[in-house]
Subunit: 229 residues, 2 copies
Amino acid sequence: MAEDDGLYAVTPRTKVKRSAARGKYDKETVHAILDEAFLCHVAYVNDGQPIIIPTAYCRIGEKVYLHGHISNRLLKSVQSGAPICMTVTLMDGLVLARSTFHHSMNYRSCVILGTGEAVTDLEEKRAVLEGIVEHIVPGRNAEARNPTEAELKATSVVALELSEVSAKVRTGPAIDDKPDMDSPIWAGVLPFDQVKGVGEPQPDPQLIAGVEVPQYVSKYCRPSSKEVF
Amino acid sequence: MAEDDGLYAVTPRTKVKRSAARGKYDKETVHAILDEAFLCHVAYVNDGQPIIIPTAYCRIGEKVYLHGHISNRLLKSVQSGAPICMTVTLMDGLVLARSTFHHSMNYRSCVILGTGEAVTDLEEKRAVLEGIVEHIVPGRNAEARNPTEAELKATSVVALELSEVSAKVRTGPAIDDKPDMDSPIWAGVLPFDQVKGVGEPQPDPQLIAGVEVPQYVSKYCRPSSKEVF
C-alpha cells in the first residue's frame, strides 16, 4: 500500500480545469470544508435525468455519511451502487470588482464522486447518526434522547468513500483589468459566514483614496432577510 | 393556452414523495426561493456520472439564467441540451427535537429539471448579466464598469425554463413523539439567515418550564467561524 501523502489522487474526472490554480486535492483542505459545512447537495441519475437533493452529512475519517428515512428515494438510489456526486459549498464572500465582468465570489467547495454503500449494522448506524448530530450540533447527543432500535431500523445510513475528490477555493480581492484600476469605483469583498452572516466590507487593497463604501454594500440585505428574526 | 393558475404542473419527476405536505408547486413560493438565494447547484451527467457544480444565477420571469466563461464545462454541457437539474436551498434553521431521531432542519428548497438553451444575442446576454449582478448586489450595475462587447463574447449565458419545478419547505418547531414531550430536554429552533447568520434560539412552544437554552445552542459556532471576521 502506498504511503499516505495527504493527497487524493487526481483523476480526469476530478481535475479542476477552469481556474486550475484554485483546484486543491489535499486531505487537509477537503476535510476542513467538509467539517465546516453540514449541508451538502447529492445528485443521482434517474433515467438519464440528474436529480439534486440537499441533505445533512458528516465525515468520519475517509468516509462521508448520509442518512434519512428508509423510504427516502435519494438514499435508495445511493445504496443501489449507482454513481453519485456529493458537493459541499461554503460561500465566503461576494467579490465586487470595478468591472461587472470580474465580479466573483470567494468560496470553498468540494466535489466527491463515487458510489454509496449501505451501513446496515445497528451499532455502526448508531455511531454514524451520533456523528451526524455531533457534527451539526456538538454537545447535543449527550442531552437528547438517543435512538431506539426501532428508530435505527427506520433510518437508512449510507457511506461514501473519500476517494475521487477535489476541492476548489477562491480567496482574496477582486482581480480587475489594469485600465480599470484607477476608476473611482468601490471594489472589495463583502464577507459571508454561516454563523455570523454578512460581515464588514473589506475594501480592495488598491482602492483609490476617498472612495466610500456604497450603501448597497454597507446595508446589504436579501429580499426577506429583514423579516427573518 | 391554459389560463395561468399560478401553479407549475406536477409531474411524476417533480412530485415530492417524502413528507408530501412539504411539497409546493406554486409560482409564488418558487419565485420567492429563487429571488432570496443567489447560489444554486447545477448537475449534469457525464458518461453516467452526475457532476454538481455551485454557481450564481438569476431569475427573469419564468426562466433562470446561468453564466460563465465560454470554456466552462458545466455551461457547455447545459447548452448541449442534455438534461440538467438546478437546486436552490435556503437553510433557515436547525430544529432540535427532544429525541435525536426527530432532529431536522427548516429549509426552503427548489428543484428545477429541464434542458438549457444558449443565449447568444449580445443584447440579451447583456440584459441577463445585468440581471445576475442586480440579483446578487442590487444597485451595483449603475456603478461598476459595464461589459464590453469582447467581455460579452467571452461569456456563455444559458437559460433554463421554469416548467418542471417543485419546492419543498419545512417550517416550525420540532415534532417529537408524545412520550418525549415532558422530558426536561431543551427543544427549539436555531434560526439561520444568509445575511444575519445565526439568530436567537426559539424555544419550543411546548418546552417544559425551567429548561435553559444549552450553551451549545446559545453559543453555536462552526469550526472556523470564530476566525472569519
